[in-house]
Symmetry: none
Subunit: 195 residues, 4 copies
């Protein structure tokens, strides 16, 4: 009997290598060979397991989104009030794995790839929909008249700060980002209460 069960190991290794490689180089202009080498195998094997470069990328993107989703889900468990839920969502975006430079870079590149690849666009839409849906649900409860607007504003702010972080090293860190957004949210909530 041959060596067995390598497939999941190899696939995982390739996915992680893809993210690292994109993160380190700062481009989607990464070759299958580079990825495979980093994952400790030949490029032929990478093709054997994924079929094509595009599918390797898709898997990597799915992986990033899965991690992100898990992080959000985890954060939501701990929160009870709507405001806490909103904060949890925001913190999930700026904490842990998702905020590591490699992930940010990979993320940004996926953003761009979404302009070409249908699969990438689909995955991105899922992420956006989930984010908006979560935020909107919470805002509906505590700032009903501005729920749409605040949802849009917060989502945009998250993306904007996330991206800024990728570009300038002098950008304030995670805490500051959360602070800016929470300030905005609290202004919105105050308005709702006073209305």
């Amino acid at each position: 009997m041959p060596k067995l069960g390598m497939e999941p190991i190899r696939r995982t290794a390739l996915v992680e290598a893809t993210i690292s490689e994109i993160g380190q180089r700062g481009t989607l202009d990464v070759t299958v060979s580079q990825i495979a080498k980093r994952a400790g195998m030949s490029s032929a094997l990478a093709h054997h397991y994924f079929g094509s470069k595009e599918q390797i990328f898709a898997a990597a993107m799915r992986h990033v989104l899965t991690l992100y989703g898990a992080q959000v889900k985890g954060a939501l468990v701990m929160s009870s009030t709507p405001r806490e839920r909103i904060e949890a969502i925001i913190r999930a975006n700026f904490a842990g794995m998702s905020f590591r430079p490699e992930h940010i870079a990979a993320w940004m590149n996926f953003y761009v790839q979404a302009q070409k690849s249908d699969e990438a666009a689909r995955l991105l839409r899922i992420y956006q929909h989930r984010l908006r849906s979560n935020l909107h649900h919470a805002f509906k409860q505590i700032a009903p008249r501005r729920a749409d607007m605040m949802t849009r504003g917060v989502a945009a702010m998250i993306d904007g700060l996330y991206i800024r972080h990728a570009l300038s090293s002098d950008e304030p860190g995670s805490e500051a980002a959360v602070g800016v957004i929470m300030h905005y949210i609290d202004l919105g909530l105050a308005e709702a209460r006073s209305a």
Copy 2:
């Protein structure tokens, strides 16, 4: 008899072709030949004038930023109060050339390229600095204690909304984007007044 003064004409044509091509294809994966063809010349000539593909891209990026800067400047001329100035800056981002699909796509791709190219990163920093500086100056006058925070928040929101627009066709248009941001700003200004 050699044609005189072809250089600026050719350079301009190439720069505009670059933006159009990136916009239409939705990638930086654009070949020099494609650009040159769209600009009505041979790829050899493109190299003759710019030396390398990277320099063509840099010039295109400079062009986009110049247009953007002009638009902001123009908008500022008409505004007198700090709030008007802030609104002018925001509207400049979501109006005219800068908000045309091609420019958005080109812009996003430049964003990504900034992770590799020093020149691109430099140009992007200039844009960001100018934007922040303008905003900050205005906020300092009408919401001094929150100036930093509001600047960061507004800048992020602009970028976030801008990018979202590039990805989903169902994203609300220019007016809605301005509305979301202005709502945020007015919340901030109200807070400043009440403090």
Copy 3:
């Protein structure tokens, strides 16, 4: 307890899979994996039994020739006069397995392979020699002066009609092919009698 006597079973399966695969795809551009898959085993096993792709092909070719030879032999049993023997040989070419599309395609490809592979060339020469020898022997008895010429002509006609059949679906079938050749033969025999 190892399975005993698997070797002949596997070899046969591979040989038949080879013919089917070539026939279906219409090329010798068939991979070992495709063949092995169709034969219900791994490509590694195929190599284990045959050593190399070329040897798989050679075995397949031998198989086709063996079948063909058997068919001719069978047909000859029933014939007594020289003319009957000639007709039997011809009918054997256009009947049964040998005239099934897969076999025709495989055959044609072997023909081509004979230009590269010594083994293939050798096998093809055997086929040709046997065919000619059979025909010549019969013609010698009933059209002695034209035996060489008729042998050559009939052999060529067989090959030509066989190949034509592979290429155009509107080509008349087996019966018509035999009819054309027999007409030629009868003309030749008539000439011999009248001389």
Copy 4:
């Protein structure tokens, strides 16, 4: 001004190199690099002019068919009676360029390729139709009742002898091939006269 007019030269060189290379190697398994090298240029240039390997092959096939057609046409000019026309067609198949080993090998491979490539199949059909049509027209005049049968028989014999020639060096040459076919034809004509 650049060097001009290389395109036709390069295209011709590539087409001829393709035929030679296929002829020499005896396969369609010829790489673009091999062809390009033989034609004295880089493989990149070959792609520049033809776009793809398949198009190089198609051009080569067209070339072979064109030469063949020219040869037939030339031969027909000299012939007045139907029998002369038939002989001219046959001789054209076994004379000159068309009967050179390289051309035969290339031809055979195209035959096989016709099983996959639509373009190849189309070209081959054209050849076959032309050949049959020419023969049939002539037979109609001098052996009307057997025109169909003789056309089929002669066409098959031509192909068969042609191919045989490619495979065995001891195969009799051009003259003998023509002799075999003409014998068949004369038998048919005699039958027609006596009927």
